[in-house]
């Protein structure tokens, strides 16, 4: 079946003026490795914002009801729940440590009072239930208030326990653990629009799961060659179509995207569509293969387009056109001549993510020096902004930044050589309806919002 999108109509993109709203995380410059943010995701209403970190923890922020006394302040996000999702494990058979780092979090659409999310590390996916408790029972017949059991001989009457209000408690409990299905490292999970299944992808395989069933998964894509010496490409990301429950895409390290239809066959090794842009021969270098590797793929909310991120650019593809993208945006083209240095310091392997705004008119992705970039598709405009503690006064408007690629550096511009490559923004998220964005620096989460008129 096809789910109809009932998205609330968001405010038009227009002239966005981004303001600082909040920053979460330690101010310390000395970053503890466990605190490094590894994923950021809004839920379907935008009320909840989840982050995962290298230490295996998940922190969920909740948007508070708008402060009526200060109308210029939009709703703030405050900590709602924190829990340890994954622990480090050891695979004794292979003598390998399995990192607890949370690679991805994906929310399930809400069906009842509780919230559900999937979180995954390299090997295991877990379904977490986050529920609120704001009442507790009082007046047990067999127990005292402190929990001790009463002497049955002292019980003379019978009463019905009553529920009395208590301070809100948010509990997270693991409801399902989907383990032992991936030989290689999981890079993606994606919930299907059928609300029953989801996929998980590692370097060579994609598995289909039923949310209720943990002891079985169905392998739908397998690109492992019979002889590993012949390996030429790996799967880098995968996602279900937002509306068609039979369709998903996966991207590769070679810069291709394959769209698969699960109705065509049980094993989707043969793609329905192959999206690939021929390489510009003038750009050929040692590192062409690395920079063409796709680090993220995201469908637009309306399901008509998909966006891919490779090292230097963001590309928008029309699902009906396979031979080239319809739009290409250069994120930091000035790095093309620095690829050798970026290879030496490992930055060339950084995996940047990308995201759409609510109405698919603007896309966003991160860069270095804590810069992040927005591309307004309709107005053909791009913007570079910075997430930094210096620009973090309440409601401070962010000034657009500019990198000077060469030649004479103008005032307020930053030269390429001054960029801090340790400060990278890999993970960004856009509220599904409003112009509120969450941008993760190494260990801080910045929340920015469009200036309210």
């Amino acid at each position: 079946f096809m789910r109809v999108s009932t998205r609330k109509c968001p405010r038009p993109g227009g002239d966005m003026q981004w303001c600082f709203s909040q920053v979460k995380g330690a101010i310390d410059d000395d970053v503890a490795e466990a605190d490094i943010i590894s994923t950021v995701e809004f839920n379907h209403t935008g009320e909840l914002l989840a982050t995962g970190d290298k230490g295996g923890r998940v922190v969920i922020f909740q948007q508070e009801i708008e402060n009526k006394n200060q109308p210029q302040f939009r709703s703030e996000y405050n900590v709602y729940s924190t829990f340890q999702s994954h622990e480090p494990e050891f695979d004794y058979l292979k003598s390998l440590e399995i990192e607890e780092k949370i690679n991805k979090i994906r929310w399930l659409p809400q069906k009842n009072a509780a919230q559900f999310l999937l979180s995954t590390n390299d090997k295991t996916i877990k379904l977490w239930k986050i529920s609120e408790r704001d009442k507790r029972p009082e007046g047990y017949n067999l127990k005292e208030e402190d929990g001790r059991y009463k002497d049955p001989n002292t019980i003379t009457g019978l009463r019905v326990p009553v529920l009395i209000p208590m301070d809100l408690m948010v509990e997270a409990s693991p409801r399902r653990v989907f383990a032992n299905a991936h030989t290689y490292h999981i890079n993606s999970i994606s919930v299907n629009s059928d609300d029953e299944t989801y996929l998980s992808a590692d370097d060579l395989r994609i598995n289909l799961w039923n949310l209720e069933i943990t002891d079985r998964s169905f392998n739908i894509v397998d690109i492992k060659p019979a002889n590993m010496e012949e390996l030429t490409e790996v799967i880098t990301a995968a996602e279900f179509h937002p509306l068609q429950c039979n369709t998903f895409v996966y991207s590769s390290s070679k810069g291709t995207i394959r769209l698969c239809d699960m109705r065509a066959s049980a094993l989707c090794d043969k793609h329905s569509k192959l999206f690939e842009e021929p390489e510009d021969p003038s750009n050929r270098s040692f590192f062409s293969e690395i920079i063409s590797s796709i680090s993220d793929v995201k469908f637009s909310h309306n399901g008509r387009y998909m966006m891919t991120r490779d090292y230097l650019s963001v590309k928008i593809w029309d699902l009906n056109m396979e031979n080239r993208p319809v739009e290409t945006y250069q994120v930091h083209e000035y790095l093309r001549s620095k690829l050798c240095s970026l290879y030496e310091n490992d930055c060339i392997f950084d995996k940047f993510e990308c995201c759409w705004n609510g109405d698919d008119s603007v896309v966003m992705t991160g860069s270095y020096n804590n810069f992040f970039r927005m591309f307004d598709r309709g107005q053909r405009r791009d913007m570079t902004l910075e997430a930094s503690r210096e620009n973090s006064k309440p409601m401070q408007v962010l000034k657009p930044r500019k990198v000077c690629a060469g030649g004479k550096r103008k005032k307020d511009e930053i030269s390429v050589d001054s960029l801090d490559f340790n400060k990278k923004i890999l993970h960004t998220a856009w509220h599904p309806q409003d112009n509120i964005i969450a941008v993760a620096t190494t260990n801080n989460l910045y929340i920015f919002q469009d200036k309210v008129n």
Partner: protein, 185 residues
């Protein structure tokens, strides 16, 4: 390509090869195990560097003549080495002597059942005088593996490299055996 450019290209290719090998080596001790994607990308860079290295060496040999005007290079291995500033942390590079050539020996069953590159103390130092028989072309770098048994289709056979690494039939750097680089699952 002039002789000077060929020399620069040669040096650049060697440098990239050395960097790549040390990265491959370092990734073995990484938490979470070897990453297939990263290993694949590293091997691709090494393959390109090796190809450029060999073609530039050939050119070097041919162009003994005084340097002509520089031509634009199709492949751009000679990239500006940008002095990226302090904040950039250089990766800790293991000493050259500890670098293990990534190619495999198909016959070495003792390579480790876990599939990881076994330490080969005998050949650890690339600067050591090789005790193995030397091949015809003497000048090739000794950190490159010697085995050239398998060639890509259409590839010319280049002069054999000195066998500073494990001797015997084996594979070229191009056919980098990922099932040795990547743990066997």
């Amino acid at each position: 390509m002039s002789a000077t450019t060929a020399m620069e290209v040669n040096a650049e290719a060697r440098r990239i090869l050395a960097v790549s090998i040390s990265k491959l080596y370092a990734s073995r001790t990484q938490r979470g195990g070897l990453r297939l994607h990263r290993s694949l990308l590293l091997s691709m860079v090494m393959r390109s560097a090796r190809d450029i290295y060999h073609s530039s060496r050939e050119c070097e040999e041919l162009c003994g003549a005084p340097p002509t005007s520089e031509e634009a290079m199709e492949t751009g291995p000679v990239e500006q080495t940008v002095q990226l500033p302090e904040p950039l942390t250089e990766p800790r590079q293991p000493a050259a002597s500890a670098v293990e050539p990534p190619s495999e020996e198909p016959d070495s069953g003792d390579e480790g059942s876990d599939g990881e590159l076994a330490e080969d103390k005998e050949n650890m130092s690339p600067t050591r005088q090789s005790r193995k028989r030397r091949g015809k072309a003497a000048a090739a770098p000794d950190f490159l593996p010697s085995k050239r048994a398998r060639l890509e289709p259409g590839e010319e056979r280049h002069a054999a490299l000195p066998t500073s690494c494990r001797a015997g039939a084996g594979e070229s750097l191009a056919a980098l055996s990922l099932n040795r680089v990547i743990p066997a699952f």
